[in-house]
């Protein structure tokens, strides 16, 4: 017993756990500050910039990077590509946590959490895109929760109710794809209300299409990235099937992401042409736009293609990281960096340390919960009692 204790204590106070602990404590303090002193005490938001990184990073990037859930389950259950089956549960868990944290982050920005049900159940603003996004996120979060419950039921040993939920899989997947199509594009459509504020290189009538298409390869890249991390840190929790299928999932998603990214690049060029924005490319903003497009879309697309052709896992993993960074850059460009581009420097928005700290706190909660669930429930391995399914 004493030996066990001695062995478990060093793990409990490992450097990673200590850092996570510090982030959680600081985050708790920031949370108290935010909800007792208001937005002004912790953020640099003002009337010019009412949306900061809690929307630009936590919400827009969170939703885009959580797209792995609908992409993977659609590939497996709608398109019948069963070789991706082992990737479904980790992707659904990531998506569920991603959306749950989006809702949590939204509370920090909006405040008054007890009013959360109002837009859906009390006062519906049916003419607002935000209402549509809110309704979709509410419904999709519920769908993701139900989609994940079989893993929890297997862990708890509730066989009968698990059987009922498993029968709903296809229905839930289709519902999830429909809801994702709606709200991923609507998040882009939100910025169409501000043609004079968003730089013309990022503003386009095709913004909803750009957001939806980019969410597909964002989701795939996130599945590859997350699988790389899971192999590195939770490899001992994976069964033989997961270890065996992982490279196939990475190469399959790399091929699909590469092709979709080239399509995305094509429609971005069409967007430039249709609005006659070529002249802006020769400016500083144009250079920044080209960095985003060439460095974080075209380059990783070629890297994905090479990785898929040559069966080079390293290329695929590097491309996945670049693509995830590219999605973050794109969403931040649209919501923060190229937004209000015409304002003098003194009026431009830069997040405060407390805003950044809150975002780090929210991401850390996601990592902690993922680790807690993945080390206990059958996410990275098949439960021995349900192997045949």
């Amino acid at each position: 017993m004493a030996v066990e204790k001695m062995q478990s204590n060093p793990q409990r106070f490992s450097p990673t756990n200590v850092i996570i602990g510090i982030i959680l404590v600081v985050g708790a303090v920031l949370t108290i500050l935010r909800f007792t002193k208001g937005l002004g005490a912790v953020t640099n938001l003002d009337n010019n910039n009412p949306w900061g990184i809690w929307i630009g990073f936590d919400l827009l990037c969170g939703v885009a990077l959580a797209a792995g859930g609908y992409v993977t389950s659609a590939a497996c259950y709608v398109f019948g590509l069963k070789r991706y089956h082992s990737a479904v549960r980790p992707a659904i868990l990531t998506a569920f946590l991603g959306y749950a944290l989006v809702v949590l982050a939204l509370h920090y920005d909006v405040g008054r959490p007890w009013r959360l049900p109002y837009p859906i159940f009390v006062s519906q603003g049916t003419s607002s895109l935000l209402f549509e996004v809110g309704l979709c996120v509410f419904l999709y979060l519920t769908v993701l929760f139900i989609e994940f419950t079989p893993a929890a039921f297997e862990w708890l040993g509730w066989k009968k109710i698990r059987q009922v939920v498993v029968k709903l899989t296809l229905l839930l997947t289709i519902f999830g794809v429909v809801l994702s199509t709606l709200h991923q594009s609507s998040l882009g459509a939100l910025f169409m209300i501000a043609p004079s504020k968003l730089h013309p290189l990022w503003y386009s009538g095709y913004l909803p299409v750009y957001f939806f298409i980019s969410s597909m390869f964002a989701g795939m890249s996130m599945v590859i990235f997350e699988s790389t991390l899971a192999h590195r840190y939770l490899g001992h929790k994976m069964d033989h099937t997961h270890h065996e299928e992982a490279p196939g999932v990475a190469f399959g998603f790399a091929k699909a992401a590469s092709f979709i990214m080239m399509g995305y690049l094509a429609i971005k060029i069409v967007g430039l042409a249709i609005d006659n924005n070529w002249g802006y490319l020769a400016t500083g903003w144009g250079l920044w736009f080209l960095v985003e497009l060439a460095g974080f879309v075209a380059f990783p697309a070629i890297l994905f293609a090479m990785g898929s052709r040559e069966k080079n896992l390293m290329f695929v993993r590097i491309a996945a990281v670049l693509t995830v960074l590219g999605i973050v850059l794109n969403r931040l460009n649209i919501s923060v960096i190229a937004f209000n581009y015409h304002l003098p420097t003194a009026d431009r928005y830069f997040p405060s340390f407390m805003e950044i700290g809150t975002s780090v706190f929210i991401v850390t909660i996601g990592i902690v919960v993922y680790r807690f669930v993945a080390t206990r429930m059958p996410v990275l391995y098949e439960h021995p009692d349900y192997k045949t399914h």
């Binding site: 091929k255 042409a273 040559e310």
Partner: protein, 43 residues
Amino acid sequence: METIIYTLQDFMTHTKNITYLIMGGILVFLPLFWLFLTEREKE
């Protein structure tokens, strides 16, 4: 030679001309890229 745009009609004609040319390029490029992506699988 720079195109002078006086009216919305001029603007639409100018941008649509370029867009259609780009679309033609995309229609040729994407199938070729798909072949590049998948040709090793046949081997």
